[in-house]
């Protein structure tokens, strides 16, 4: 395992968002974090494939309930296993890889003892494995988004704690932290607090009855909205200026949106329980916060798009294409999410697949695309060579983008169709199901696209990890209309 002494690069100039990438000490930092970052990326991609296969089976079972009717593959176990592998396996592992690399680079140093972080990665992945296997074997909790048993969270948390220790040692408090650092550090801090607090409150039986569901909803919502989404926003704030060479369009607005984001996203947690046996004020608070959340998200999206505007490399850079696509989808998704939180719409679409569709749009269309873009950006710096094939990158982009939007769109349409009938007592329940099921085939087909896209990326990544690629120096660019 690489053990580097405390390595220092030149400190970040205050207020500067763009750094030259040639400083030799950057390559020393990259070499120090390479094992742990590549390890996290590698395992994240394994989870991505596992989750997509489980997700494809789940999708098939929606219209073929009798398919592969084994107890460990029943819909009620497959769905949370696929979701857990996606959120805690793919998204969280990739986010940790991005976090470790960004914090080291932005702090201008890599603290020794990356082995600690690597061991953390083993523990985290072990925890996810325990969670997925336990869920399939029927040892699960009835909490949406927090189905993995407590044991898996204990192991995951131990791993995360080790990673956090390394991050804390490396993190250098800057006079004026970049927006990127603020989002990433905010995400790490929130995950640490919420995983610990949420699981402790539930496991210690400090809360009972419906409040247990409220705590679970708060914890699971925090994992997506206050750990994964902030980290990918932070990655976007890092990559967009670096690739385009433009300074961030508005630093002060970016910071203001950061604070507004963390304040409002912290209050949306019970939208998944709205209309249920919780106080009405709590439903209303969550709905209002979901509406308000549109402001910092659209603001950040605008800030990032305006930063990239007019850039000549924007069309040709693979990382930028993925990141900007993901960022734009995040903007759209925040509007759909807010619309779904309105009481009048929630009453009809709640308990349909609308919610699953919006989540799919966020995690596959926005988060995953930004994570892919980040990996496209980071890996050449760790491997010392460039991506092998621009056609493979184009193929990945098209399949992943279409697959994500098509799958999410089908679920959202299914939810709207089923919801309109569900809220109308003249429709029988079997009519509700029939209306919703018209979109199931489209949803299933989207998984074929996703498997092709994710599979091709995993292959490309493996080649990169063993340093098979184009010679360093000339980045692999995508063909553009101007004839690259």
């Amino acid at each position: 395992m690489t053990e580097a002494p405390l390595l220092k690069a030149q400190p970040l100039a205050p207020g500067s968002a763009v750094l030259p990438d040639q400083a030799p000490s950057r390559s020393v930092i990259d070499a120090a974090v390479r094992p742990v970052v590549v390890g996290f990326f590698l395992t994240s991609l394994a989870w991505l494939l596992v989750s997509t296969v489980l997700g494809a089976l789940t999708a098939l079972k929606l219209h073929m309930p009798g398919l592969l009717n084994f107890p460990f593959l029943t819909f009620g176990r497959l769905a949370p296993a696929a979701e857990g592998a996606f959120i805690y396996g793919w998204c969280s592992c990739a986010c940790m890889g991005v976090t470790i690399w960004s914090v080291a680079r932005l702090s201008g140093r890599a603290s020794p003892g990356t082995a600690i972080a690597s061991f953390g990665s083993v523990l985290w992945n072990g925890g996810v494995l325990i969670g997925v296997v336990s869920t399939l074997l029927g040892n699960l909790r009835p909490f949406n988004g927090l189905e993995f048993p407590l044991a898996s969270f204990i192991v995951m948390f131990a791993g995360f704690a080790l990673v956090s220790v390394w991050l804390a040692l490396t993190y250098q408090s800057l006079a004026k932290p970049s927006i990127s650092v603020m989002f990433i550090v905010g995400g790490v801090a929130w995950l640490a607090w919420s995983l610990l607090t949420g699981n402790l409150l539930i496991a210690s039986h400090s809360v009972s009855g419906v409040v247990q569901q409220i705590v679970a909803s708060w914890t699971a919502t925090g994992v997506l909205w206050l750990w994964i989404v902030p980290v990918v926003l932070g990655a976007a704030y890092l990559i967009v200026p670096k690739v385009t060479g433009h300074p961030i369009y508005s630093g002060p607005l970016g910071r203001a949106f950061f604070w507004m984001y963390f304040l409002t996203a912290g209050l949306i947690s019970v939208t998944r329980l709205s209309g249920g046996p919780i106080p009405l004020w709590l439903s209303s608070l969550s709905a209002a916060a979901s509406l308000l959340l549109v402001v910092p998200i659209l603001g950040s999206v605008y800030n990032l798009l305006a930063t990239a505007k007019g850039s000549e490399v924007a069309a040709a850079s693979p990382s930028l294409r993925f990141v900007l696509f993901g960022v734009s989808v995040l903007g759209v998704a925040s509007i759909v999410f807010a619309a779904g939180a309105l009481h009048s719409i929630d009453y009809s679409v709640h308990f349909t697949l609308f919610d699953t569709g919006v989540r799919a749009l966020i995690v596959r269309g926005a988060v995953s695309m930004i994570l892919f873009g980040s990996i496209y950006y980071i890996m050449p710096r760790l491997s010392g060579c460039e991506w092998l094939s621009s056609s493979l990158i184009s193929f990945h982009f098209i399949t992943a983008a279409y697959g994500a939007c098509m799958g999410a769109g089908m679920l959202i349409l299914s939810g709207l169709a089923a919801g309109s009938a569900l809220s109308d007592s003249d429709s029988t329940f079997s009519q509700v199901l029939d209306l919703g099921s018209s979109y199931y085939w489209g949803h299933t087909l989207s998984f074929a696209l996703l498997l092709l896209g994710y599979g091709s990326f995993a292959l490309h990544f493996l080649l990169m990890a063993v340093r098979i690629g184009q010679p360093a120096g000339e980045p692999t660019l995508l063909p553009t209309q101007h004839g690259h």
């Binding site: 009620g76 004026k176 809360v207 009855g209 708060w218 947690s269 608070l285 697949l353 029988t428 079997s430």
Partner: protein, 229 residues
């Protein structure tokens, strides 16, 4: 304090607002709920809810373990929705309904019907008078439904939970628990299909589900109780 010095205190403040407003306040409001009861001349009656018997609790574990909550909710919403009109319950459910559930199995989606009150004889998933409506959903019906859903609800999209049942060779007289299966599902002569302990516990749990007891905060007051105008 430098600008970076605001980052962690600021994040901590956001965290405090989040957990304070959406976890601690609801806990203060709902955490102390106790069963409702009627008191007349020192006699306490109509205590609701009551803790379940252990078989039902075991059945609840089977329900969770099989992942039933992925497709079945246990939440009745107010009259803004069609939940009550569908026959799933007489009133909306409130936090007091779930005080003995650790945790309540509220469910994620309705790919199947809501089961909040499935143990009540009044529960229905079909319009009144619909010919497809089963005459009664007793234990025998539940077993058959779990073993082969389409045998009782032709349009059912529920998978068959055959692993909750066992095929036994009939020795002596047939088991009283044996499923009365239609000819196309029946095992070969000399054999019978019987529910396992898990299936029995699950059916006890399902039959115990009835949250229709009147509660003031749910907008329904017991008919016998005096109401103030």
């Amino acid at each position: 304090m430098s600008r970076s010095g605001f980052l962690f205190p600021g994040l901590l403040a956001c965290f405090a607002v989040s957990i304070g407003a959406t976890v601690l306040l609801p806990h203060m409001q709902l955490g102390t709920l106790t069963p409702s009861f009627k008191e007349e001349e020192g006699q306490i009656s109509e205590v609701y809810p009551v803790a379940s018997v252990s078989t039902a609790t075991n059945g609840r574990d089977v329900y969770i373990s099989q992942g039933c909550q992925a497709c079945h909710s246990q939440v009745i919403r107010g009259t803004e929705t069609a939940d009550v009109d569908r026959g799933w319950g007489a009133r909306r459910t409130v936090a007091r309904d779930y005080i003995f559930d650790a945790p309540p199995v509220l469910g994620a989606a309705r790919i199947g019907p809501d089961l909040t009150n499935v143990g009540s004889s009044k529960w229905r998933n079909e319009p009144e008078g619909d010919p497809v409506r089963p005459e009664k959903r007793d234990a025998a019906w539940q077993y058959l439904h779990l073993y082969h859903p389409k045998a009782v609800i032709h349009s059912s999209n529920m998978p068959a939970y055959t692993d909750l049942f066992a095929k036994h060779k009939i020795s002596g007289s047939p088991s009283p628990d044996a499923l009365k299966l239609p000819a196309n599902l029946a095992p070969e002569p000399g054999y019978e299909i019987v529910p396992t302990a898990d299936a029995k516990a699950l059916v006890v749990y399902l039959s115990s589900l009835d949250r229709s007891h009147p509660l003031k905060e749910a907008g329904v007051v017991a008919a016998a109780a005096p109401t103030k105008k």
